[in-house]
Symmetry: C2
Subunit: 459 residues, 2 copies
């Protein structure tokens, strides 16, 4: 059967249950063929909108039988082409599976369907005094965040999805449904399947439910913005902060180029120097103690122009500027498409890595601002490639290649939080060598028909 | 070939490289056939003492070819028969691979060979201002702790081995050697093989090197001991402490029976009531703030008889009493063998689970003290089975069965930190259902010859 025939057979089989929630209409397919990466749109042949785990099972069983690729889809905010239908097939849009199933306030956890987004979850939790801290910027779904092993600004204190997913419900490629763990906080019961599926980018099954940890809202939250004479001084202040065990909630670096773009976009007048933005969480006494300790460290590294924000509205203003960085960069470099890539290195190499990258960027003539979750050694480069200049596009490509190779040469990883997707398959081999064969063996064992998100992570 | 012939062939093949570091002498085999579980000794047919990863590879390749079971061995402190040679074969004693390879002070991590023990590591780190917090009680090897997904008293603040292993070097069943991750603090690069091997109990390969996170020694450490009118009140104080986000480093429960045993053993005069022992880590201001917050909570739950320990020697005295609990229980119930089992439940169910367990114990006539890492919902029962009374031995067996079933009925796990080993294979099926099939598929894919620690985790 051709793919078209297979899709027709699938729709015919599923229509009694799915009705118009399965479709091969061009517009819907087009919407599901794009993420926010630099890869060209690659639409699926159909899109299904299941409303229950049972419907996901029904769909996967049919796709398994018909040998149709299955691509789990959250809200399409992936950055490495992770949801593109490179072999065609069905995109499984989980946005209708958006129920918050059970908040366990005493246990500080919650079980949600995979289509719940992080903002939705935190709005739901508003009156409980609890919150879910993982913040990758975009309002991604919990299923998507788990699949990508996402993290973001709060990871330095609260960890990534790896540390915060307690359990998953997963529909396997053969249609069976498993729960990877009980709800106990820790367990030594067998292989850690939770962590195996976290970060597997939809290649081993479809995550249908996610149980994550919650945290009590801290009594006190305060933010600070301060500038440093150089990236080295800023990063050295970060290293000391981490080494002294100061439990900062967020510690973000922006380079000069990013601050310049933000000033232009947000009409602010921040000093255009390497900048750290921080957030401190704790009891009233504890948070102030952190602030004092950090101020001492930062001062010793030449920090100045401290701006403190204690009130929620002032904190929001500071963080809005940070979160607007991607839009600001887009506005700052009109006529370019931005390629936001990420690497992560041991923190001792971070200043060296960022400085070398800035020099490399300067040598290309490209605009490419840097923002970083520096407490983790993780940073992003927003490479602005002019849309009408093939030679600068190639320069962007080569800059990206050198950036990743530089991180790998420093015992770093080719991606701290965006995943491998389509874009970093070659780098994964360089990074982990024969370990990639072990991943392949697992993929082959769990998905012998290779229907789950084919073409991603490895070929 | 019989196993004896295979072993002879193996020793002949390896003797040029290993010399007397491979042996089938009865005494050496006997030493490697026992852990500290209640299972009878089951010695291997030979023991090898590799001194390098290359020697482990050479050994595994030969065992793979000769179809000889391979059992990784640290110091033999496992509690579920995890290292018993139930199918015969070679025990691989990693104690000579005990070099600390690289301390990265700025990155707060260290790479060690798998045979390094946690006390050895912390002694080595003494002058750096850093420490490795994971403390399962026994002075286990880092390789063993990773294999069992160990945790212990500090896990409530610092996490378990799952959170603290950054990367592993593993010799696969086919003799190849992989590194599971780079040294960056976080990564989204492919499947999380680190977490797959952590907790796999030697069934997927032999861990030869471990890279773990380190932490700065806190400026201030203080301990407290306080008693509560009931287990419920003690556990409710714990729940509130966790909910308020007070970052206690340790929060341990001992029931009346345990305190009674400790008083008899250590000649102390602690009140024989449900007791919490705590430790607070932080800056001077931060730790005091935690103490004040906890005292308020504990007071509201009827805590009394607070004993504070600020000086290192006083802290050691308190924790020594806690760490002596197993010895104290052994001395308290002469003529019995102690069967220390562990379960873990969502913390909201903990008081109920412990209370029901205490009632159950009382109904059996057995001595079975309870100690718990209650911040995690994890507790141990030291079932004292009289060695000469088969009916009480059966009562112990049934008590254990009911304990695990009770934990599972509360959405808990059959083991919080001891692993499945030989003892909990049936419970694993009850706990995770079809997910165990996924584990089997992975095992089959990575170890098709089934040479790695056969008979453990599942049949």
């Amino acid at each position: 059967m051709s793919m078209q025939q297979k899709i027709e057979a699938l729709i015919e089989e599923l229509q009694p249950a799915f009705g118009d929630r399965i479709s091969s209409a061009a517009g819907i397919c087009q919407q599901h063929g794009e993420d926010i990466s630099h890869f060209p749109a690659t639409p699926p042949d159909a899109v299904a909108f299941p409303e229950s785990t049972e419907e996901v099972q029904q769909l996967v069983r049919a796709c398994s039988r018909l040998e149709i690729p299955v691509i789990p889809f959250g809200v399409g905010t992936s950055l490495e082409g992770n949801i593109l239908a490179v072999n065609g097939g069905v995109s499984v849009d989980l946005s209708r599976m958006n129920r918050i199933l059970q908040v366990n306030e005493q246990d500080l956890d919650v079980t949600v369907q995979a289509g719940v987004t992080r903002v939705q979850l935190n709005q739901h939790l508003r009156d409980t005094g609890l919150f879910f801290p993982i913040d990758p910027g975009a309002d991604a779904t919990l299923g998507g965040m788990a699949s990508t092993r996402a993290s973001g600004t709060n990871a330095v204190r609260y960890g990534t999805m790896k540390e915060n997913v307690l359990s998953l419900e997963v529909v396997l490629p053969d249609g069976r449904c498993i729960t990877t763990s009980r709800r106990a906080r820790k367990s030594s019961a067998g292989y850690d399947l939770t962590r195996l599926f976290v970060g597997s980018e939809g290649t081993l099954g479809i995550i249908t439910e996610v149980t994550v940890r919650l945290y009590g809202l801290p009594e006190e939250m305060s933010s600070a913005w301060c500038v440093f004479p150089s990236v080295e001084e800023a990063v050295n202040a970060v290293i000391e902060t981490i080494q002294f065990g100061i439990p900062v909630a967020r510690i973000e670096l922006m380079d000069e180029a990013t601050v310049r773009a933000i000033n232009a976009y947000s009409k602010t007048d921040f000093q255009e120097q390497p900048t750290l933005i921080l957030e401190f969480h704790g009891s009233e006494v504890g948070a102030r103690d952190q602030v004092e300790q950090f101020s001492d460290i930062a001062g010793a590294h030449g920090a100045e122009d401290f701006q403190w924000a204690l009130r929620p509205e002032d904190r929001s203003r500071l963080w809005q500027a940070r979160h607007d960085a991607a839009h600001a960069v887009a506005a700052f470099a009109p006529g370019t498409s931005q390629w936001w890539t990420d690497v992560c290195v041991p923190i001792s190499r971070l200043a060296e890595c960022i400085t070398a990258t800035q020099e490399d960027i300067a040598s290309t003539g490209l605009v490419a601002p840097i923002v970083g979750h520096v407490g983790d050694g993780n940073f992003h480069v927003g490479i602005c490639a002019p849309e009408d200049d093939p030679s600068l596009q190639q320069a962007a490509d080569e800059l990206h290649q050198r950036l990743v190779e530089r991180a790998l040469a420093m015992d770093g990883t080719c991606t701290g939080e965006h995943g491998i997707g389509l874009g970093k398959k070659e780098f994964l081999k360089t990074e982990l060598g024969d370990a990639v064969d072990v991943m392949r063996l697992i993929k082959q064992a769990l998905d012998p028909g290779r229907i789950m998100n084919p073409g991603k992570v490895f070929d």
